[in-house]
Symmetry: C2
Subunit: 307 residues, 2 copies
């Protein structure tokens, strides 16, 4: 049993507190995936994610894109361990939809799995008022190559794949009534960084890695806690598409990029593995943004609980 403040509800306590308590209760590691011994030389990694129509999928999204997003979000956690995906399961709570909607959703799931070199291997359906999908992805990775959140060293460079704040810009565009933009497409059809993750793992140059789906800020705070370190992020180095500001790049969630650390002398090996941007460095403590002056990055971003 764990000690909890019984005068507060779980929403008041917040997701971070509840997840910490569950993790402590079960004595499991706080990683993007669970890690199981597969053979003497290989791990199986497994991850599960739940999505709901109202809270996880913006208005205007197509059935095909709902399917794609679920599988992409789940496979992003496999990418974050540097693993090769070997299957996705989906359980679905379905309201009374048209068969064509379900069919299109399954098509989207399958397309995303296919894009990542894997497939939907099984699932479950039942009836539910609000469309709810839980995706579980499995992957394999050699024991010597697995990338964990823990491992960053002071002086390491902080790197990311792709662009930051794109999904957030997509959300903003939707809120302004824009229906079609690069950012909206990236929000609805994110590409899990499986290729980049596996190549970075094979490079041996990466000391810690996770995905940034809750936003850069929260991800940095999680890495800081696990590695008992700090970060300085260089605002001018943040990779952003045109018209996306630093605030979105730092705080918005929904991107599925890889955030990782590399020893400076191994940077060229990481660069050989995939396209990346160096955005800062690992320090002793604190999570700061250097933008002319230096200021603390706030611990906020995408959270699943409403408060």
């Amino acid at each position: 049993m764990i000690l909890i403040d019984v005068t507060m509800t779980i929403y008041e306590l917040g997701e971070t507190a509840i997840v910490s308590q569950i993790i402590e209760h079960l004595n499991i590691e706080f990683e993007d995936c669970a890690i199981l011994d597969l053979t003497d030389t290989e791990y199986l990694v497994a991850t599960t994610d739940m999505f709901h129509r109202k809270t996880d999928f913006p208005e205007g999204i197509a059935a095909w894109q709902i399917g794609w997003m679920c599988v992409a979000g789940t496979l992003s956690d496999i990418a974050a361990m540097g693993a090769h995906p070997c299957g996705v399961l989906v359980s679905m709570g379905l309201p009374d939809l048209e068969p064509a909607f379900v069919d299109s959703m399954i098509d989207g799931m399958n397309a995303c799995a296919s894009e990542c070199g894997t497939r939907i291997i099984g699932g479950d359906t039942d009836s539910h008022q609000e469309l709810t999908i839980s995706g579980t992805a499995l992957g394999r990775i050699s024991k010597g190559r697995i990338l964990r959140r823990k491992g960053a060293n002071i002086g390491d460079l902080v790197c990311v794949t792709g662009y930051l704040g794109t999904a957030g810009a997509g959300m903003k565009a939707l809120a302004h009534g824009i229906e079609d933009s690069t950012a909206i497409k990236k929000l609805f059809e994110p590409i899990p960084r499986i290729k980049e993750g596996t190549r970075l793992a094979e490079s041996g140059a990466v000391t810690s890695m996770m995905d940034n789906s809750d936003g850069l800020a929260l991800s940095l705070y999680q890495l800081a806690e696990i590695n008992r370190c700090g970060f300085v992020i260089w605002a001018d180095s943040l990779p952003v598409l045109p018209e996306i500001d630093t605030d979105l790049a730092v705080y918005a969630g929904g991107d599925f990029e890889l955030l990782f650390t590399v020893a400076p002398e191994r940077l060229s090996d990481a660069e050989d593995a995939c396209e990346l941007t160096v955005i800062g460095e690992v320090t002793m403590e604190g999570v700061f943004l250097e933008a002319g002056g230096i200021k603390e990055i706030e611990q906020r971003g995408y959270r699943s609980f409403p408060c």
Copy 2:
């Protein structure tokens, strides 16, 4: 793309039709678990199940029992393949509960996993109006020993573990305002037949197997379709607790027993593996009940969709 009747909704078409369409669309096998190559000699089996507060958990159930039931339902599919479980993941959509409720639920999940020789290895939480839990279980089984739904031969004996209709009797007791009975405890705290499943697989005596969670009748119809065979079930042989009638034993869902077929000459090997009851035999066609005369078993039982 699959051909579907676009004038009907998925509830009108029914779960069986939709699941068949999805399975065909994805070109996957209709088994209790997905099956993946692990090594030259072993398979990984994986299964996922979604549960909702209103549709899957009767009134009066405790938080601990909700946790137990989710994990039990998922591990039952691992048992049905004859596999050894190696981990369970749970994703949870949580309303604004008290922390103690969540804690107790996690305790129940853990207790059931523990009972089956495994543990909760990871998960995901987010907020959702109705408590929704998706469990995913993983297992390992040597390639020569895996038990599938397909494999029954005409003349095989039909066997089950434990008692039939017990969970149904528990539901009936609850509907009559009874709060405490053996049947209610069996409904709320089913024990997945992992021990029996693994021993039956090791015996080499079983030709086909599945669990009977949707009820005996629907399970028989599924086996009949896959194996292109029929069944005669002997009403007098059905193993039931006192005061449970044949109707409950045949049609009620919610039990997590194993339903399997054995060649008559191998029955003693199956009996050495676990306690079982022979309830009928595999025939050419039709699913019948012998009770004095002979009558067709109806194709009804537990279904997830409301119509």
